[in-house]
């Protein structure tokens, strides 16, 4: 009979205590795994969606809100900005590329984004079916929206799914983008003027100056309850919009990432935000939650280690005779020590395996409920290995003391007592 088999038989002889240790370990591992997965997915989403955008320009307000609304489509915009004002910065010598965005409507919760073809190109999105929009009210659907080529739909006012519909003007899907794994999969793209026309924004011939704009045009859709009176004129769509919501800017140098926002914030009515900076701030807050979950996981793993300790140490008295018999049968101290460690490791390994299964299952079940996280796929990484090693070391440490006690016991004395 191998020592491993002997250790497993000993564990099976006290099923309830062993099961409890395995379950406690499994819960700790499961929680740690789910936290690790969601934290990794959130970070990947932040990195993936924010890649290649150095500055976001929009209406004054919260810079984090501007970044979240324009880059991650996870908040309401800070307002609209006059296109002429934005245009000044679009052609700034330090700007390499500027992509305009006009937000305001949605279809079943999927945001309708007025933009240019550069936006799709930025995320490497290409039509899997059809083509990009050309005329107004032609739309291109992201891969995750469920819209089909040729389908018509009306945009609903606001950025939530419960806004009133613009039934008088339908969009037509002329293209469906292939999946990119980025935020664009959950967007519907169209021209800037399409979005603005639905909301009565004036459009002007290209390069016409608009010196009499208000200083700050608040975004129309921050408040879904306000009264809407749209004056659409779709007969001759203009090339240049009166307003946009934001500009996604790629600069020519890292230095410009610092200098340009400073100039914009100081010298214009606009606001420029640095996404990297804002997301670092957000991560500091979000990371607190992740850390808390991490602490809870560590606590659970600690409890599991304690239960392993209690299970093995607690059984020593009742098993002292069995262990003494093994010594009498020629099992050395080191072999007995190894036997007890094996029991601890077997419990830990069992909990670890079950915890991984539960963690993976939990993630697979929970991920679809949080589509914005874009975390549908499991991403095993080095943290999994560290988690497994940590748990194994904890289990080993927990069984160390009982193993030492068993190895040091005097078999002659134990056999005479039993």
């Amino acid at each position: 009979m191998s020592d491993l088999s002997l250790a497993l038989h000993a564990l099976l002889s006290r099923k309830i205590v062993s099961l409890l240790s395995v379950l406690l370990t499994a819960f700790g591992v499961m929680m740690a795994l789910v936290v690790l997965q969601f934290a990794a997915a959130a970070q990947q989403r932040i990195d993936r969606d924010g890649k290649g955008v150095d500055i976001v320009i929009g209406a004054k307000g919260s810079p984090l809100q501007l970044v979240l609304s324009a880059l991650y489509h996870a908040d309401i915009p800070t307002g609209n900005i006059p296109y002429t004002e934005a245009e000044k910065w679009m052609h700034h010598p330090q700007v390499k590329q500027a992509i305009p965005l006009a937000l305001g409507d949605n279809w079943k919760g999927f945001r309708i984004v007025g933009t240019t073809a550069d936006y799709a190109a930025h995320y490497g999105a290409k039509p899997a079916q059809g083509q990009l929009w050309e005329a107004e009210f032609e739309a291109v659907a992201g891969a995750g929206t469920g819209l089909a080529l040729g389908q018509t739909f009306s945009g609903a006012h606001g950025l939530g799914a419960d806004g009133h519909s613009h039934d008088h003007q339908l969009y037509k899907v002329v293209g469906v983008l292939g999946p990119t794994g980025s935020v664009i999969d959950r967007l519907i793209l169209t021209s800037v003027n399409s979005v603005l026309a639905l909301h009565g924004q004036e459009t002007t011939p290209a390069h016409e100056e608009h010196g009499d704009h208000d200083d700050h045009h608040h975004h129309h859709h921050d408040d879904d309850d306000h009264d809407h009176e749209h004056h659409h004129d779709h007969s001759e769509p203009a090339k240049q919009p009166a307003e946009i919501t934001a500009l996604l800017v790629k600069t020519r140098s890292p230095l410009a990432n610092i200098n340009l926002p400073r100039s914009i914030n100081r010298d214009s009515m606009l606001q420029a935000a640095n996404p990297a900076l804002e997301m670092t701030r957000l991560s500091a807050v979000f990371g607190l939650g992740t850390r808390s979950m991490g602490y809870i996981s560590a606590f659970l793993i600690g409890m599991a280690a304690l239960s392993i300790f209690a299970g093995i140490a607690g059984s020593l008295d009742s098993r002292s005779g069995d262990l003494a018999v093994l010594r009498a049968l020629g099992y050395g101290r080191h072999r007995l020590f190894g036997l007890l460690l094996m029991e601890g490791l077997a419990l830990t390994a069992g909990g670890l395996a079950l915890g991984f299964v539960m963690g993976v299952a939990g993630f697979v079940l929970l991920a679809p409920a949080i589509p914005a996280l874009g975390a549908q796929a499991l991403q095993p990484d080095i943290h999994w290995l560290w988690l497994a090693l940590t748990v194994l070391v904890a289990g080993l440490a927990a069984s160390l003391l009982p193993a030492l006690r068993a190895a040091r016991a005097d078999p002659a004395q134990l056999l005479s007592q039993r």
Partner: protein, 208 residues
């Protein structure tokens, strides 16, 4: 040929000397009965012979190899190789099967030999039973099988008949004698049970 030799052994417990053996030897295949009342040091003597205890004074040696020159690990290995032990309370591991209990005594158990042992001892049908479910008689036979499983040079038995009636005591004693003879092993029995005295050629009576 001398197998086991003890010289000038003195051992105490709780400040009281409980054992004094000037000289004792057991030849290969020999039979020795250690007879004496409770507390006279019979079990201690068996433990000294098995290397489970080290003598405070004197020497124990097996085939010329003195125990006091051996490390604890070497003594464990010696015990595993040369000794089979039948404990007074049998000490089978309850959650293991009879077969598993018997095989614990050998590093590479010879299953054929284990089957022949259990066949001869009349517990072949209990091989897969958990030890905790055996009757006392069955457990005693399983303990004897375990003591013989590693084909030991010496079998030590501690009070194997103390709780048995005359017939059972005679039966168990004969089992031990027969099986050790078949296996070519020496047998040393420690007991206070004088009923089995006639079965042994050599008897060492220990005083309290």
């Amino acid at each position: 040929m001398t197998a086991l030799e003890l010289t000038d052994i003195r051992h105490s417990a709780g400040g009281r000397e409980i054992l004094r053996i000037p000289a004792l030897s057991v030849a290969a295949g020999g039979r020795l009965l250690l007879l004496g009342p409770s507390g006279c040091g019979k079990t201690t003597l068996l433990n000294l012979m098995a290397g489970l205890l080290r003598a405070e004074q004197g020497h124990v040696s097996l085939n010329g190899q003195a125990y006091d020159t051996l490390s604890g690990r070497a003594l464990d290995a010696l015990r595993r190789k040369y000794f089979g032990i039948v404990f007074q309370k049998l000490h089978l591991i309850g959650h293991l099967s009879v077969e598993q209990n018997i095989c614990l005594a050998a590093d590479h158990p010879d299953k054929t030999y284990m089957h022949s042992l259990t066949d001869r001892l009349g517990i072949a049908d209990k091989r897969r039973s958990a030890a905790r479910n055996l009757s006392h008689g069955e457990a005693q036979r399983a303990a004897i099988a375990r003591a013989l499983m590693n084909r030991p040079a010496i079998v030590l038995a501690d009070e194997p008949t103390s709780a048995l009636d005359d017939a059972q005591a005679d039966n168990v004693s004969r089992l031990l004698l027969d099986e050790t003879q078949t296996a070519g092993a020496a047998l040393i029995v420690a007991t206070h049970d004088a009923r089995i005295k006639p079965l042994f050629d050599t008897v060492l009576e220990l005083a309290p």
